[in-house]
């Protein structure tokens, strides 16, 4: 589905359920006259003010991060692996799928509103891909915007997406546009 940019932007301002959600519409246009008007803008800055853990002076900064890191680990379902060594790919440590989730988690601790993922399910088997997609889905359910590139998705993965943007070769497009 290739969106008409204007209607997509309007739909977004209507569909946004939570006024505090970290909402951004990413807007791309090759024309200048298609600018949306009157759209809200909210930066992800509504942090709760809760900090309790303090180790010593040296690690105090680290200590305060703990609860935040904890939440991210819950989100990517890596709480049980928290003290596991990352190790070398295909030799020791985490599996490919766990590494993928760690990559997502590493981005998540920066508390972004929008996350880009380049082929998160490539090179994974069906089960591993499903686990990674569940993580991605969990991320989206926190109100973040996620954009994934995807290549030959299975139907289970494909159905996890809310929207699809398709890039096409112009020659193909012209072929379809020709009158029958």
């Amino acid at each position: 589905m290739i969106h008409s940019p204007h209607s997509a932007a309007q739909a977004c301002s209507k569909n946004c359920p939570n006024s505090f959600c970290p909402c951004h519409v990413l807007w791309i246009s090759s024309r200048d006259n298609s600018r949306p008007k009157g759209l809200g803008f909210r930066v992800l800055d509504q942090f709760d003010k809760q900090a309790k853990t303090v180790f010593n002076v040296c690690f105090s900064c680290l200590g305060k991060l703990q609860s935040f890191v904890e939440q991210v680990m819950d989100l990517v379902e890596m709480k049980s692996l928290e003290f596991a060594l990352v190790g070398l790919p295909a030799i020791s440590g985490l599996s490919t799928e766990q590494r993928k989730r760690l990559t997502i988690a590493v981005e998540l601790v920066a508390n972004p509103s929008i996350i880009f993922m380049d082929e998160p399910t490539s090179g994974l088997d069906a089960r591993a891909a499903a686990i990674v997609m569940r993580t991605v889905r969990n991320t989206v359910d926190t109100g973040r915007t996620v954009v994934c590139t995807i290549h030959q998705p299975s139907i289970d993965i494909f159905e996890a997406f809310d929207e699809v943007c398709i890039t096409v070769f112009l020659p193909f497009l012209k072929k379809f546009q020709q009158p029958m």
């Binding site: 505090f20 935040f68 915007t145």
Partner: protein, 114 residues
Amino acid sequence: MKQEGITETKLRLLSNITGAFRPGVLTALVGVSGAGKTTLMDVLAGRKTGGYIEGDIRISGFPKNQKTFARISGYCEQSDIHSPQLTVRESLIFSAWLRLSSDVDSTTKMVGDD
């Protein structure tokens, strides 16, 4: 390539792309190999610095400012690069340490996570 008769010095990788990503929604960018999915995403995330980028990118209707956008966006590369000697928790703390504001007092909780 010039020897084979291609006179242009610039190569167009993406052309005439228009679209919007709605907030709080999971969007798939689908295309055949070489269609420019990764290139498009690199451009949107501000990772392509070389070459020429035309057109405009807007966040909630406002022109994208890379300095602020880098603070509110994440990018998971295709290749997972991590330090093999660290644990999962250490990797996360390291990233949080580098990328969150130094005023970590206020960043202990994730927004939208009740």
